[in-house]
């Protein structure tokens, strides 16, 4: 004990350095999370009162019996899976294209074009996309009509709303995943490809057996980032669809937020806790799977 105190006293300047960081993390991170978990065990009507009444797991039980929540959860998981695959496939394809010897000129222009949406405020980007999809104002349907193609339902059709949201989110996020792939590609060992070429490997074989395994670190990081990102999808729904049409884009974050608005605090925070657990479980699993073999790059 005295030993511990002596060590802490010797390192006191480091405690001083870390104090503001720790204070902000606790005040605006851990404390609200714990409060939120606490609220999830109280009755909504008393949740914000000084002496809330505790109801055990009743909120969790009612959430898990709520058909709208279960539908929302399965749609969130479906959307996350589609969005992760679409974003990573697009980003990897574009990174390979920009890294290849094919596009020497204009390379920076293409990079900037794909990356610019990442730093564009998401509200502004999604507002523009919302109106691009619009039936009477929108450029998309006007262009389809001009080309003689059938109209795109966009955000107002049950069949296309999720796709429309996915396209707008890909526009906003894919550039970020692309630059991570590009960073990884630039660190790879190019002599391996030369050797494989000399040994008679085809372009496809070189890509699949030589390049792709070296991209493992970027694939793992991008997958974890994208999973966390899309499980929490929120802003795009607030701006573009408000969960509609017919709950097609009513993902868990947005549904829980709606319950907050209706003062159903207990159930809303129970949902938040469930989503939190899912985010942690899925991203840790992805990280474990990705980390099992030592990365070569």
């Amino acid at each position: 004990m005295t030993d511990l105190l002596a060590r802490m006293a010797r390192d006191r300047i480091f405690y001083l350095f870390v104090a503001p960081f720790a204070a902000l993390t606790i005040l605006f991170g851990l404390w609200p999370i714990l409060l939120s978990i606490q609220v999830s065990f109280t009755a909504s009507a008393s949740a914000l009162k000084p002496n809330p009444s505790y109801v055990g797991f009743a909120n969790y039980a009612s959430v898990l019996a709520d058909p709208i929540f279960l539908a929302s959860l399965s749609r969130t998981l479906l959307y996350t899976a589609l969005a992760v695959v679409a974003n990573l496939a697009f980003a990897l394809f574009f990174a390979m294209l920009l890294d290849s010897a094919l596009l020497k000129r204009g390379n920076l222009f293409f990079r900037l074009a794909i990356f610019l949406p990442v730093i564009t405020p998401d509200v502004a980007g999604y507002v523009v996309w919302r109106w691009l999809y619009d039936r009477s104002f929108g450029a998309i349907n006007a262009a389809l009509k001009m080309l003689g193609l059938p109209a795109f339902g966009g955000l107002s059709s049950v069949d296309t709303a999720m796709l429309a949201v996915l396209i707008a989110e890909l526009w906003h996020h894919a550039g970020f995943y692309m630059i991570i792939f590009l960073a990884n590609l630039s660190m790879r060992d190019r002599t391996l490809e030369e050797a494989a070429h000399v040994d008679g490997a085809t372009a496809w074989q070189r890509w699949w057996y030589v390049i792709l395994p070296q991209l493992r670190p970027a694939i793992v990081i991008n997958t974890v980032y994208a999973l966390i990102q899309f499980l929490k999808t929120f802003t795009v729904v607030v701006v573009m669809t408000k969960g509609g049409p017919n709950d097609q884009t009513n993902f868990v974050s947005y549904y829980a937020y709606q319950l907050f608005d209706q003062a159903r605090y207990g159930e809303a925070t129970a949902m938040a806790t469930i989503l939190f657990a899912i985010v942690i479980a899925i991203s840790l699993t992805a990280y474990r799977i990705g980390d099992r073999e030592p990365a070569r790059a």
């Binding site: 870390v18 290849s100 610019l116 070429h197 938040a272």
Partner: protein, 280 residues
């Protein structure tokens, strides 16, 4: 470089794909810009017109007041809140990451680090009620201070600093210790000069990310007086029978400053973001 000499046909296809995709990615910006200068009725009758009928800046005076607050107030709030949160966040995160890297085994330090990592995983938007409660208890509801303090910390900033401090060779610090330097002197005379470039990168990225923030600002605010441009844009977009041209003009104002800043410093931003993420 590549073992294969690029084949002409393949190259043409590569350029075609890259050009079409880039044009599609940039078109929303062009459409936003053109629509900001066209009357709503003109856009409805011809949404695809590639440039405005006339170049008039009148719309910017028409949206001079939104929701009872001057447009200049929103713009000023954006600059003020973003700058303050960036300065505070960079300082606090740099010091914190430095201490955590130098003394990873000090009692409590790993708790701080894991606490921070857990916070990142929590669905941000669902912190709304508890953050509201915390701000209420601290008496910070509706204040600039509350907004700035909440925005200060971010994952990318932390990872960038942590990664940088881990790369400082221990010999450098040991040499300074042998010369009799105090930890304070090591920080200010040895580490800080080395950390100047990374600090600039982190500050730049933090500024860009904070500029885009909207939800915590909406939650902590008590009135539109503390809204920033994105929050004003969102509330304008949610109004019924909204002024379409005005929305596009406000979207331009929200996007232009960060787009310009990014284009001026694109190399630093893209390399910084990539390296900050790679050690996540």
């Amino acid at each position: 470089m590549s073992p294969l000499r690029p084949n002409r046909l393949l190259q043409a296809m590569g350029y075609l794909v890259a050009t079409v995709t880039s044009v599609l990615f940039l078109y929303p910006y062009w459409w936003m810009l053109v629509s900001a200068f066209r009357p709503t009725r003109a856009i409805m009758s011809d949404p695809l017109r590639p440039w405005p009928e006339a170049l008039s800046f009148q719309i910017f005076s028409e949206i001079g007041r939104i929701g009872g607050v001057n447009l200049s107030t929103y713009a000023l709030n954006s600059v003020l809140i973003t700058s303050a949160a960036t300065v505070l966040g960079v300082g606090v995160t740099a010091l914190g990451a430095y201490a955590l890297v130098r003394r990873p085994r000090a009692p409590g330090f790993s708790l701080v680090r894991y606490g921070f990592l857990v916070t990142i995983m929590y669905p941000y938007m669902l912190l709304v009620i508890p953050v509201y409660l915390v701000m209420f208890r601290l008496g910070l509801l509706g204040s600039y201070a509350g907004i700035i303090l909440f925005l200060a910390l971010g994952p990318l900033q932390f990872f960038l600093f942590e990664q940088f401090f881990r790369k400082i060779p221990s010999e450098v610090i040991e040499a300074a210790l042998i010369d009799g330097a105090s930890e304070w002197q090591i920080l200010t005379r040895v580490v800080m000069p080395m950390a100047m470039p990374i600090t600039a990168t982190v500050a730049l990225i933090t500024f860009l990310l904070n500029w885009a923030q909207w939800f915590p600002i909406l939650v902590i605010s008590r009135s539109p007086d503390t809204y920033t441009l994105p929050v004003a844009l969102l509330s304008m977009n949610s109004e019924l029978g909204s002024n379409f041209q005005g929305i596009m003009a406000l979207a331009v104002l929200t996007t232009l400053p960060v787009a310009a800043l990014f284009l001026l410093a694109q190399k630093r931003v893209m390399e910084g973001m990539a390296s900050g993420a790679v050690k996540g």
